[in-house]
């Protein structure tokens, strides 16, 4: 199996970026994938969002704010507690796989999600309560964005919509929003969660070795993607609000 991986890596390296500057799927280095989204698809949840970014599909559900369940010690006197769960759907990769540990509450991905949301959600408005966020999909960045939208859909005030995006470094060029094939070839790279209005970073995670000098362009590429994502989300949000409530 490792052999196969190596072989694929070699295959992709050869042509990750054509001489004419196109990526495998026809995008240029700084372009993000196509985007589709829907809000409020699940009436039983307090808020929900669905995002499709290229072939990545994510559903996020929000319950709350509501009373803290379980022991009192979990509640906080001055703010709401965010409880996040992130799961990768079994059918989210090229091969169907069994759910593994490390994906539930408290897992690495859930922590990333929580950290990003905490920076945006105005939790102090809801002391002694909890907000449950479930994000379900194949990619953590898209999952974060979807979760933020679901929070928005639930009517919970946010400082800003969190836009999360990634970038990878291929042959010296930073690629915004890498797709599956690109990630398989050069590794996951850098993930950002950005609050676009203020430009604040809610989260930066580096999962590959990126040389110091290249860090800036890679960050820039990821942030570019986030901002592009924000513009598209903004358009879509306004459109869907018009659909639901008429003129805004």
């Amino acid at each position: 199996k490792r052999g196969l991986y190596r072989k694929r890596r070699g295959l992709y390296r050869e042509g990750l970026l054509s001489d004419d500057g196109f990526r495998l799927d026809g995008r240029r280095p700084r372009e993000i994938r196509s985007l589709r989204m829907r809000l409020g698809l699940f009436p039983r949840a307090d808020g929900s969002a669905y995002i499709e970014q290229g072939n990545t599909k994510v559903v996020a559900l929000v319950y709350g704010p509501r009373e803290v369940r379980g022991p009192r010690s979990r509640s906080a006197p001055d703010q709401a507690v965010l409880r996040c769960r992130f799961s990768l759907a079994p059918f989210s990769g090229p091969e169907r796989r069994r759910p593994r540990g490390g994906e539930g509450r408290g897992s690495d991905l859930a922590l990333r999600l929580q950290q990003s949301l905490e920076a945006a959600v105005l939790t102090h408005l809801y002391p002694r309560s909890q907000i449950d966020v479930y994000s379900d999909g194949s990619h953590c960045c898209t999952g974060t964005t979807a979760a933020a939208l679901a929070v928005l859909d639930a009517g919970i005030p946010l400082r800003d919509v969190v836009c999360a995006g990634s970038a990878a470094l291929a042959e010296g060029t930073a690629l915004t929003d890498p797709n599956g094939a690109e990630e398989a070839a050069v590794g996951p790279g850098l993930a950002l969660a950005l609050l676009p209005a203020s430009g604040l970073l809610a989260l930066v995670q580096l999962s590959a070795r990126v040389p110091c000098e290249r860090l800036e362009p890679v960050m820039e590429a990821a942030a570019d993607g986030c901002r592009e994502l924000h513009r598209a989300l903004d358009r879509e949000l306004r459109r869907s609000l018009r659909e639901r409530h008429g003129e805004v």
């Binding site: 190596r6 890596r9 390296r13 050869e14 042509g15 054509s18 001489d19 004419d20 196109f22 495998l24 799927d25 026809g26 995008r27 372009e31 993000i32 994938r33 196509s34 290229g54 072939n55 090229p94 091969e95 042959e171 010296g172 797709n179 599956g180 094939a181 050069v186 070795r209 040389p211 110091c212 000098e213 290249r214 592009e228 598209a232």
Partner: protein, 961 residues
């Protein structure tokens, strides 16, 4: 930015998993025509490459302005023509490039180079992502058919699109395809289409191009004409099944050098390699040397043994199959039963390994004939039929021919003429030939490679200074042979406050300029090493780097990789550190200049005093190394030095080694060892190291016996014992004996090789008596050093890593290639010396010289002529003459010819002359003059016979035994 695009997703069903990939279609991809105003141009995009008024050769088929659009097969087979400067303005589709990459990486790389050459005006059009030229695969359509259709759609789009250009003269697009069906379909769709042949033949002003057309026969056509000679090849899919089930064996085909009807196949096995004999034209079944083939074993009753017959294919009449069979029978009669070996026949070809071949034309005897046979210089390659109208011009020239195919009804493979190298025997021509024959990449660096070079004027930027120490204040100098332009290394030495000595070795920081994975890096790794020929140097990296930016010249700022030690006065290392640095060398000295400074008592400047300190330390280090058992085989170097004008050997240059030579060498060795330790401790799995295995004891037999015959004892149980006994092996009456013994010793040694630390256990370097070693000090001329620099840079956090650097299999593969390149470079160098030796003896005529016997063989002796540093073989068996009585004694290496006994180290006199009877294979011939041997009539005064203009090769007997 994205609003103007529409998206379509494409699903590809793979064999194992379903892979869904996004596929974006765009409408911002330009057509590449300079005259087009409709296509959007990005501000950072290069200027459109297709000319407004397409230049290039005039065609009688389409006199108007036009662009060419070839399909995949045309690119694949006719790349030699497409590279010609007269072919310009060509559109290369993405579909075509992708197909090409899957079918031939070398051709793919060549076409990419062409696309990047501005004068060629080639344009690569990303048709698969263009909204109007992308098509989906239909149900039931093969991907080949789909791609053909995609190409036609793109041609159609181009012709429509170009019509919209508002210019007086419309530019046409011409589709080139050799596929009959594809061409018919194209014509139906209203596309102007020609075969490559039709188009090239229409270029009336350039008739010479026609010769270079590859003759690719249509598969259907070959059966119609002529008698079928060979059995059919089994298709690849069936071969693979057969190999899996064990019916067939896969192996590398190796043709015999001496017998064109015989070959062996080395079977690639898991455990051990096995050899299978293939005999007879039909069993060889059109396999060519180095091809990967599938073989079926014959029943045991049909097994044969390798024949010792020399057979050369020199018939002119191709249809003369009967005589072939006659010859095959000759092979069979010479079989002795207990020598039978597995024998088989080639049933199919798994991979052709055809490369362009050097050789000469054997002009057809028929007047005005256009078909001729080509005889490759490499005897293992069959003769090739080519079509040319310039046979008269090409006769006596060295030419290059490429093989195109080998149909079943053809005695010889078909090929096409590629290039004329020049007259045979000409210096430049022969140099080119020996470079090609030794697979030394020597083309000028391509545009793509040169574009990776820094822009001039170059200066050190602030960015460059990151992770770098400024060592410009240090008193650094370099010591090299005179005339050296590629200075890799420089040194410094100073006393520090605590009384200890700081010594620095500074190596050119080549890896700063050659970044992993770019075209320059790919080219350098392909070359592997700089190759030094007698009158020529083939650089591994472009001259701007080798002789300027990387060369540590004096009085300029240069980037370096420094290895700095703190030592005490006993030359013991107390501390070692490595850093990237900037240096400014204070002086570039020659060995002689440095020696003079050290020796002259009046000079006491900074440079001189540090040289003296270095020299003192080096002496201590060298002594310690030799005490540990390092070998010093640097016998007075006997090398043939030629005057470039007159080809006179500038005497036997016993290269006088000055102290400063070994001073520099000592510190380079130390740097290499220190770096090897560092990278191995940091990256135990994938450090690139160099080892020199100890030779198996039996290797020394010949040396020990030879010494014993002179009553000397050579001990070989350890390197140290060997070194000591060699030092003692002196004879007062025979001063040259020690040199001869050292020469013999070098012949017993193994080859030192690069290897990956994670793939090997034995790291020992026998010759240097070091437990670990690598190459760090010559990155300008050795690629291995560049990798070592990268590893070291990562280890100290001065540079980035990349996936291939951390992959031990990749490093091991690279070592294999580098070892091959170094070996080939060495062979090329020897061939170059041999050629110049021939030139020398051609002008000098026949001479008699003193020689010493180095080796004794069963039917020959190998002699060394000290005057020229030349080695040669004297044979006692001659074709067509009765063999004298030979008696070989293995114990005292000696050979008795008739009544004369010849022992190793005997002083003899030989007659040397050039044997030019075969113009492709000229060689130096040596005949024993003294002692005289009965029956071996050497004409008393050979000098009268100035050259051995024997009868031409052709007229010699066809069959020799």
């Amino acid at each position: 930015m994205q609003t103007s695009r529409t998206f379509v997703k494409r699903t590809r069903a793979g064999a194992v998993v379903k892979v869904v990939r996004e596929h974006y279609l765009r409408d911002d991809i330009p057509c590449g025509a300079a005259a087009c105003r409709r296509c959007p141009l990005r501000p950072d995009a290069p200027a459109p490459s297709l000319e407004t008024q397409p230049g290039g050769a005039a065609s009688s088929l389409c006199p108007g302005p036009h662009y060419l659009l070839p399909d995949t097969n045309v690119l694949l087979h006719q790349i030699d023509i497409l590279e010609d400067p007269v072919i310009k303005n060509v559109v290369v589709l993405q579909t075509v490039l992708q197909e090409l990459r899957n079918r031939s990486i070398p051709v793919y790389k060549r076409i990419r180079d062409v696309i990047q050459t501005p004068e060629k005006h080639f344009y690569s059009f990303t048709n698969e992502h263009h909204r109007e030229t992308y098509i989906e695969q239909k149900k039931g359509e093969t991907s080949n058919d789909r791609n053909d259709r995609a190409i036609r759609v793109a041609v159609k789009w181009y012709s429509e699109h170009l019509k919209k250009i508002e210019d007086e003269e419309k530019i046409q697009v011409i589709f080139l395809t050799n596929d009959r069906i594809n061409k018919e379909k194209a014509l139906e769709e209203g596309i102007t289409a020609y075969t490559c042949e039709e188009y090239i033949k229409s270029l009336v002003a350039n008739p010479e191009l026609v010769d270079r057309l590859a003759c690719v026969s249509d598969e259907g056509k070959e059966i119609e004409s002529g008698k079928v000679i060979f059995p059919e090849h089994i298709p690849l899919s069936k071969l693979q099944q057969g190999i899996k089930s064990g019916n067939y064996l896969q192996g590398t085909y190796r043709a015999s050098r001496d017998n064109y009807l015989e070959a062996t196949v080395w079977v690639h096995g898991d455990a051990e390699e096995k050899e299978i004999i293939i005999q007879g034209l039909k069993h060889l079944n059109r396999a060519v040397h180095e091809d990967i083939v599938a073989v079926e074993l014959l029943p045991k009753g049909e097994w044969v043994s390798l024949s010792s017959v020399v057979l050369q294919d020199d018939g002119q009449n191709e249809d003369d199959i009967e005589t072939e069979e006659e010859k095959e029978n000759i092979l069979k009669t010479s079989v002795s039963k207990d020598m039978l070996r597995p024998t088989g026949k080639v049933v199919g070809i798994i991979k052709r390994n055809w490369r362009p071949l050097c050789g000469m034309l054997s002009k057809s005897e028929i007047k005005e004939a256009r078909r001729h046979l080509f005889t490759p210089a490499d005897r293992r390659i069959p003769r090739i039929r080519i079509e040319t109208r310039q046979a008269d011009k090409l006769e006596g020239q060295r030419i290059i021919v490429a093989i195109d195919g080998w149909p079943r009804n053809s005695r010889y493979p078909n090929g096409h003429f590629v290039k004329n190298l020049g007259s045979a025997g000409d210096k430049e021509t022969e140099t080119e030939v020996l470079l090609l024959e030794h697979d030394v990449p020597h083309q000028p660096f391509s545009q793509a490679v040169l574009s990776c070079l820094p822009k001039m004027p170059w200066s050190i930027t602030e960015q460059d200074m990151k992770h770098r120490e400024d060592l410009r204040h240090l008193c650094i100098c370099s010591v090299d042979p005179p005339g050296c332009t590629d200075i890799d290394d420089a040194l410094h030495c100073r006393e520090i406050e605590n009384g200890n000595i700081e010594v620095g070795v500074h190596i050119a920081d080549v890896s700063h300029f050659i970044r992993p994975g770019n075209a320059l890096d790919e080219e350098s790794v392909k070359r592997g090493t700089t190759v030094y020929l007698c009158e020529k140097r083939i650089d591994m990296v472009p001259e701007l780097l080798s002789s300027n930016l990387c060369s540590l010249r004096s009085d300029v700022d240069r980037l370096a990789f420094s290895c700095i030690w703190e030592m005490n006065h006993k030359a013991e290392i107390l501390k070692t550190r490595f850093t990237k640095s900037v240096i400014k060398s204070k002086a570039s000295l020659t060995y002689a200049e440095a020696q003079m400074r050290i020796d002259s008592a009046t000079m006491n400047d900074d440079i001189t005093t540090s040289l003296r300190k270095l020299n003192k330390l080096a002496k201590i280090m060298k002594k310690r190394r030799i005490d540990n058992g390092a070998l010093t085989l640097s016998s007075p170097e006997v090398r043939f030095h030629m005057d470039s004008e007159t080809h006179d050997p500038i005497d036997l240059q016993t290269k006088e080694l000055k102290e400063t030579n070994s001073m520099v060498e000592e510190f380079m060795l130390l740097a290499n060892i220190s770096v090897a330790q560092k990278i191995h401790s940091e990256f135990p799995e994938f450090a690139l190291l160099r080892k020199h295995p100890a030779p198996p004891p039996s290797n020394y037999d010949i040396l020990v016996k030879a010494a014993k015959s002179k009553n000397l004892e050579i001990k070989t149980d350890s390197a140290k014992a060997l070194a000591e006994s060699l030092d003692k092996a002196e004879s007062p009456t025979f001063p040259y004996l020690n040199t001869l013994l050292r020469i013999l010793t070098t012949r017993c040694m193994m080859q030192a090789v690069y290897f990956c630390s994670g793939m090997d256990n034995d790291f020992h370097h026998y010759g240097l008596a070091s437990p670990i070693y690598t190459h760090f000090t010559s990155p300008i001329r050795r690629y291995a050093d560049i990798i070592v620099h990268r590893l070291l840079a990562v280890a100290i956090g001065a540079d980035d890593t990349y996936p291939e650097l951390r992959d031990k299999h990749k490093i091991a593969d690279m070592c294999k290639n580098l070892n091959y390149r170094h070996k080939m470079a060495q062979y090329a160098q020897r061939a170059s010396v041999a050629f110049h030796t021939q030139l020398f003896f051609k002008s000098k005529g026949v001479v008699n010289e003193d020689a010493y016997i180095l080796f004794v063989r069963k039917n020959a002796i190998v002699v060394l002529i000290p005057k020229y540093g030349l080695e040669g073989t004297v044979f006692f068996e001659e074709k067509g003459k009765p063999t004298p009585r030979l008696d070989y004694n293995n114990e005292v290496p000696s050979l008795t010819v008739e009544d004369t006994t010849l022992c190793v180290f005997d002083k003899v006199k030989v007659n040397i002359m050039l044997d030019a009877s075969n113009i492709q294979h000229q060689k130096i011939q040596m005949v024993l003059v003294e002692p005289k041997i009965r029956g071996n009539d050497v004409p008393a005064n050979l000098s009268t016979e100035t050259s051995s203009n024997n009868e031409p090769e052709k007229k010699k007997r066809k069959l020799r035994k």
